[in-house]
Symmetry: C2
Subunit: 137 residues, 2 copies
DNA sequence: TTATGTGCAAAACATTTGCAGGAGT
DNA sequence: ACTCCTGCAAATGTTTTGCACATAA
């Protein structure tokens, strides 16, 4: 999962990581691009993709593949789950104590060598609940 | 989740559903297209996409959004989880009795109105384990 | 008959890649 | 110097869409 060998410390890399660490949202590559571009106007989208993938491979950040069409990235790497608003597409962190037992349960129920799991909840976020509420009235 | 109003019973729809129900794999739209095309050579890929989406919206089939670049479809609609081989990309069903409690845990831990959840395990399938094994020897 | 659905091709997106020049070490 | 990295643009892969014709109801 991690091997940060000959990986140079470039300005682009630093700023991408800094900008990602600033937010608690789970931006898409394109959103990271927009954030970074304010400080590095000439950066290319390809560079953003390349570096996000590299950092995810090295375990420095998390690449989360949830519902929706785009991948999302997360500077928080301790184990946690996500919840996604089906109305606005927003992805939030969620801390719930499920964990652990379920990998061995999966190993018992399959012929797979289990590497990990990811839980994605879906629901309606508070903002969208309120919007629904007020549009009814 | 379901409203099958003026939804016509076309040959294309029937055959797409039949072919999807035949397999326990979780084919991508393109794989369904290939399967269906053997019986309906002139069907368009757009039709396959349109109908898979329609059927998923009506709750007749399941659209599963797991890791990887393509969406996958599943004619099995009772609640169950999936496991994905990180080596070959295959997605299998997996039946484990986690379920239920975790939605209320998520509701307690968030401001969301919880609609559901999906668990995706990742691992190495038996075939790929054996390939690894024999390439080492 | 008429609203819905289909085939086809083009468009829209998200992501990856080739390459010539640029920058860390 | 010598790689590795970047910006740019083009290519790729997946999904969606517009439109004229076809078809289930």
């Amino acid at each position: 999962m991690d091997h940060l060998p000959n990986m140079r410390l470039t300005t682009q890399r630093q700023i991408i990581l800094e900008e990602l660490a600033k937010v608690t949202s789970h931006p898409t590559a394109n959103e990271v691009y927009d954030m970074v571009r304010k400080r590095l106007p000439r950066i290319g989208l390809g560079t953003v993709y390349r570096n996000l993938d590299l950092m995810a491979d090295s375990g420095v950040i998390l690449k989360i593949e949830v519902g929706g069409t785009q991948k999302r990235f997360d500077a928080t790497i301790y184990p946690h789950y996500h919840i996604r608003c089906t109305a606005c597409g927003k992805v939030d962190d969620i801390d719930i104590p499920v964990q652990l037992h379920i990998n061995s349960a999966a190993a018992a129920a399959s012929c797979y060598e289990i590497l990990g799991h990811h839980i994605e909840f879906s629901g309606i976020c508070r903002d969208c609940q309120q919007k629904k509420q007020s549009s009814v009235n």
